[in-house]
């Protein structure tokens, strides 16, 4: 592999390893004297633990040790924390009930951790766990979100009265009410944003080692952000000093947000490894993933949109109840607030917006960020109500959007909900999407479908997202407990090849290719001379990890800064070697040149001189190894329009997606193939939410009914058509690559695009307001046949 440029479709370096089964995941580790953990979990949604008898289990073959919640409490292990403080409408911090790593006296959801059995084999640990006798006093449980804030609802935590975590607001309520009073048209909408199970291909796993000689701990874990995991475990939970805890996230098979968080299992493994002085491994079974990986979405919303007679939006108000589950996961509080309400302006010039969010505890699995995190929920509300308004006002839904777009010369654009959009140009995106979708021909296609007894519909969704998550000062002012910059280190070896150490973490995104590609372009080094290193707190400078489409805009920018430092130092070395003034040195295509002459020193020669400094500037440090930290000045704001076309079979209720167009503005694109992969995957996840996926609980017992792939409908290849993609480029004005991020866009926009199409199809039989996600065949059939 030679030099590559930004913008080339470079094949992913990591795929050979992944596709040939040569990846190294946590479960692949071979550790000396290893033991295996099995976690006994609550079968009840809400119960008091009267007594746990582990005596029979302790005598079971192969058992090394059993720990219960009581042991954890007595050892004063800290509870798991929520790292983002949201202040309610009165300025008070959110309710933060205790979240013990193992339940001591009360279980609060099916799957809550009750005991940890450590044995010589995984089967022996499970055999022993079956012999633990737990005496539960089963209590009434609150499963349903809509009823959670009812004063008579069963209480999840004594210190969160009424199950309310916070009652939060954003925007100017009085101004919104005044605008509604003058509106020519008001559209009202009630929506449910269905709960989703993340379903990473690799289940969560952990392995912990304790070195008695040094007192050092090592935790191997399926993490999207190993440094943050170390920080939280050290500073808040286990009290192991940061320099005595190494966290390694090796190859990780997908996360979608669910592997950002710190869970009970890796916490317990690390603690217990120190207690028993042996290594411990644990890999979740798929049913444990369903029960205990933090779920996504789960909102109930009422929204109202005020428009003037020409369809210009005057005001928007949104009232949402958000489900947080039984405990606060690591970033749970931020998702339905600062990652949600701040996006309610969408691509529009809506002058005033008010949003009220009440976050509720329920006896269900904790809910936290899942691909898009708040932004898909916001987009679903905005884009559903805009399409509904268009139908009510008999204005074409694309045209209504166009009338309300922020103009291209209005950037930077301050929205009424805190964000300042940095760049964008929305109308050409819509134009391209309409052309790719043959929007003009829909009436003929509807007529043709009708002739064969089918219902056709077309749906538009124009999304905005705030991603590239950072800057630290902004998120700090909103309650984040961490900074959101990123680190990079470019470490040359004397022979001229180099390692990129990044604080980002790749769990499928292709960083090993994309990051190498930008350095190959910038420094003129062949791709196969570049190795990307990530996921080990002992190797990589402190970093913040991967989520919120931040790796390239923030992590990539840090790499660019480090590369600038390499070039700056290289210039000094090259100037010395060529006996020229540093000011006369230019760097082009991997070579330092003296302007106006044919003198040249390749970068590799400067690197070698830096490590073998026999002939070297006297005032310059040896070595070619540069660190950079990058904290941007704003979020990035990718935008785009998706158009989905469906055909509904009214006899069965089956929705067939017959065409799907996505036109995105991700700023500059480093690797179009990687971007396409991200967009495809995101759209499929969004289609999954719209048509297929639903974390359904039994509302009495709190059992997760869709707790396996027999009942949880994952999207399959034959559920989606080939996508038609297009791009518009307005470079991000504030980062060195001009990039905006592309990881979440597909999942953010697709639910509204699909559902708008389904509603358009159902409008032919008057059923457009009777359908919620997922629009399964049964639900579509019921909507058509409800009279």
């Amino acid at each position: 592999m030679g030099n590559v440029k930004i913008g080339e479709r470079v094949q992913r370096k990591e795929d050979r390893r992944f596709l040939t089964g040569s990846g190294r995941y946590v479960d692949d580790l071979q550790l000396a004297r290893v033991t295996y953990a099995y976690f006994l979990r609550s079968p009840h949604a809400h119960a008091k633990i009267r007594k746990i008898d582990t005596s029979k289990a302790a005598a079971s073959v192969g058992v090394v040790q059993i720990f219960t919640g009581k042991d954890v409490a007595e050892a004063k292990v800290g509870g798991l924390i929520c790292g983002w403080v949201v202040k309610d409408k009165h300025g008070n911090p959110h309710k933060a009930p205790a979240h013990p790593a193992m339940a001591a006296d009360t279980v609060r959801h099916v799957g809550d951790t009750v005991a940890m059995v450590i044995a010589a084999t995984a089967d022996q640990a499970r055999d022993a766990a079956e012999k633990i006798e737990v005496d539960y006093e089963v209590l009434p449980a609150q499963i349903n979100l809509a009823g959670a804030l009812d004063p008579k609802a069963p209480q999840v935590h004594a210190d969160a009265p009424g199950n309310l975590c916070y009652d939060w607001e954003l925007g100017d309520k009085a101004a919104v009410d005044a605008a509604f009073a003058k509106a020519a048209h008001v559209t009202k909408l009630d929506l449910v944003n269905n709960r989703l199970v993340p379903n990473a291909m690799e289940p969560r796993a952990a392995a912990a080692e304790y070195d008695r000689g040094t007192g050092n701990y090592t935790l191997y874990t399926t993490s999207q952000n190993p440094h943050v995991a170390r920080l939280v475990l050290s500073a808040f939970v286990l009290g192991i000093p940061e320099h005595k805890l190494r966290v390694i996230a090796p190859d990780v098979g997908g996360g979608f947000g669910s592997k950002i968080f710190i869970y009970p299992e890796e916490t317990m493994l690390t603690w217990a490894a120190g207690k028993i002085g042996r290594s411990i491994k644990w890999t979740a079974e798929r049913s444990e993933s369903f029960m205990t990986d933090a779920h996504g979405r789960d909102h109930v919303t009422h929204a109202e949109l005020a428009l003037d007679a020409k369809g210009k939006i005057l005001a928007f108000k949104v009232d949402t109840i958000a489900n947080l589950g039984a405990y606060l996961s690591t970033f749970a509080t931020a998702v339905p607030t600062y990652l949600y309400a701040t996006l309610l302006a969408g691509q529009y010039t809506t002058p005033v917006i008010y949003c009220n969010v009440r976050a509720a505890f329920t006896h269900t699995t904790p809910v936290d960020a899942y691909r898009g995190a708040g932004r898909p929920e916001a987009t679903y509300v905005v884009e559903s109500i805009v399409s509904k308004a268009a139908r009510e006002m008999k204005i074409d839904s694309a045209e209504l959007r166009r009338r309300n777009y922020i103009a291209k010369d209005a950037f930077p654009y301050q929205t009424p909900v805190a964000l300042t959009y940095d760049s964008g140009n929305y109308a050409p995106i819509l134009d391209q999407a309409m052309k790719l979708a043959d929007y003009a021909g829909i009436d003929a296609r509807k007529a043709a479908a009708k002739a064969k007894g089918k219902l056709r519909g077309i749906g538009v969704c124009s999304y905005i997202e705030a991603c590239g998550i950072a800057p630290s000062a902004v998120v700090g002012s909103l309650g984040a407990g961490v900074g959101l910059w990123e680190s990079a280190q470019l470490k040359f070896n004397p022979t001229g090849n180099l390692q990129i150490l990044t604080g980002s973490h790749s769990h499928g995104q292709g960083h090993e290719t994309t990051f190498a590609q930008i350095v190959s372009d910038k420094l003129g080094i062949p791709l196969d001379q570049i190795e990307v290193v990530h996921g080990d707190t002992d190797k990589v400078p402190f970093g913040m990890g991967t989520y919120g489409s931040r790796s390239l805009p923030v992590g990539g920018s840090a790499i660019m800064k480090a590369a600038d430092k390499i070039i700056a130092k290289g210039k000094k070395v090259a100037a010395h070697l060529m006996e020229a003034a540093e000011a006369d040195i230019v760097f082009e295509n991997g070579t330092f040149k003296v302007t106006g002459t044919d003198k040249a020193v390749p970068l590799g020669q400067a690197v070698f001189a830096a490590y073998v400094p026999h002939n070297y500037p006297a005032d310059l440090e040896p070595g070619m190894d540069e660190n950079a930290f990058y904290d941007p000045s704003n979020f990035t704001y990718p935008s785009g329009t998706q158009i989905c076309e469906v055909e509904v079979d009214p006899d069965t209720g089956v929705v067939d997606i017959v065409n799907f167009v996505a036109v995105d503005d991700f700023g500059n694109i480093v690797n179009p193939m990687v971007v396409e992969g991200q967009v495809h995957g995101g759209i499929v996840q969004g289609v999954g939410q719209a048509l297929l996926e639903n974390a359904a609980y039994d509302e009495k017992t709190g059992q997760l009914i869709s707790g396996s792939y027999m009942d949880y409908t994952m999207p399959r290849a034959d559920d989606v058509p080939s996508f038609k993609l297009g791009y518009e480029v307005t470079p991000c004005p504030h980062n060195p690559l001009g990039v905006k991020g592309c990881g979440e866009a597909g999942a953010i926009a697709a639910p509204a695009a699909v559902m708008n199409a389904v509603r358009d199809a159902l409008a032919a039989v008057g059923a457009q307001d009777r359908i919620e996600m997922p629009a399964t065949p049964q639900r579509v059939w019921a909507a058509i046949n409800a009279h």
Binding site: T652, S706, T713, Q778
Partner: protein, 264 residues
Amino acid sequence: MYDFAYHKPKSVADASAAVKKASEGKLMAGGMTLIPTIKQRLARPSDVVDLGGIGDLKGIKVDASGVTIGAMTKHAEVAASADVAKAIPALAKLAANIGDAQVRNRGTIGGSVANNDPAADYPAALVGLGATVHTNERKIAADDFFKGMFETALKDGEIITAVSFPVAKKAAYMKFPNPASRYAMVGVFVADTAGGARVAVTGAGPGVFRVKDMEAALGKGWSADAVAGIKVPAGGLNNDIHASREYRAHLVTVMAKRAVAAAG
């Protein structure tokens, strides 16, 4: 999984003896249901008797009287058989749409029939075509073979050796898959046989059942319209998050119509 003893006998007689002798013996054909349930600790057999070593149970025979399929014949083999496709195309097509490629290359007709999963495809074909189940002890008509959910007429130690299907004048199977598992949520097999029209439904109820009203209507005239107005009662049907009883009842009519049309 829990510990169990494993046997791989060479003959049906040895297999029958082994399973009879065991305290909690289970016969294993393709293992497509048994292995997952053992792995999930939902089944705890003392002994597993693997039928995979018995050569007599494999193979497809087609003659003028019909199609006879050995119990250990895999779905993929039935799907790929040109002889089956010629004699009873609907049967080959049904086999080609069972599960996924992995299941079709492990799962067997005997295993599927003996397990009698209420959402399995083969029971619809057996009842729809009026097939006969051959065991080491006797022959059982399909109509008498399938009892309740996961229950059959098989006695302890009785082993299916083959299933024989008479050739129908025409037949078709139409499946509406469960969106998640892709088992039949409703599957309807229709056939115009020597003994009259037959309509067998799988997935919708606790077990495969016939719809006599539709059979009578098709007996008077074979057309999709003949069954279009006939509804099965929703009362006894399955009810879950994917489909209510009423929706399943509705789908039986829709799938029956489509199957009749597909049969031609």
